[in-house]
Symmetry: C2
Subunit: 127 residues, 2 copies
DNA sequence: CCGGACCTTCCAGTTGCGGTAAGGTCTAGC
DNA sequence: GCTAGACCTTACCGCAACTGGAAGGTCCGG
């Protein structure tokens, strides 16, 4: 499979697949004589694994760890759970942050008349 | 006021104050003969305005617009409201995204025993 | 007059790619 | 056999919004 076939199969842009190879996350299975990257099914599975991990917001380095665990038949699920739980607390922290931003901003937007006059509670709050 | 006094008064790192000057967001009020930036109260107020705007997640370019409106005695509050409402919908979109990520990930983390065995619903889901 | 705490500019690095250029390769059709 | 165009390669720039660090100038207390 050349890189464009692999990228389609994994659901990632070609550029991203090449980038992942460059940083040693998922290397090409081999190269043709002309230097073209080739990918097999196993590599495509790894790429798709990374894609799904990234959708959860795991960083590239976390994806690297997760991929290592994915490939490790002797893994402890506690390792996986630790990484996922960490991400979960990050998400929850972000949710709390967004919630308070949302409440404040929604309040201000609601209080602003939004007409041609300059009076504005949003500006008042920021200034 | 030199830059460190201004940065303390505005609640921003010196580096950031310098950066804002570089990009023409809030320039120093003047320079000493030696080339040191000096800030007056009005500039510090602008810096603090930017700091609070940034806390709401407004981009630098949005902050530039908001600062322009802050400074404009003839502004229409509708302009301010438009920018804030846009940010609000972004926040809401992000909240929905995080909510679904949270629900999925929380479910998986809960289902993972987190012991020394390799069986793991999180890995199963990603793989 | 000296040490240290300021200040200056400029350059590099961060994250995770996307865009684009310059050039090699492969393949279908004539 | 040749050519057009669709691939592929590496390499470098750019993004957002800074942060850190190097090299060098300035200012102030003792």
């Amino acid at each position: 499979m050349n890189i464009s076939a692999a990228s389609k199969a994994a659901g990632l842009p070609v550029k991203t697949v090449r980038y992942y190879a460059d940083i040693g996350l998922v290397e090409a299975t081999s190269r043709t004589e002309a230097g073209y990257r080739t990918y097999d099914e196993a590599s495509v599975r790894k790429l798709a694994f990374i894609r799904r991990s990234r959708q959860f917001g795991f960083s590239i380095e976390e994806c690297r760890e997760l991929l290592g665990l994915y490939e490790d038949r002797d893994r402890s699920s506690s390792e996986v759970k630790r990484i996922a739980a960490k991400r979960l607390t990050e998400i929850e922290a972000k949710q709390r942050e967004l919630q308070s931003l949302h409440d404040e901003l929604a309040h201000l937007v609601k209080a602003c008349r939004g007409d041609t006059r300059p009076d504005c509670p949003i500006i008042d709050y920021l200034g």
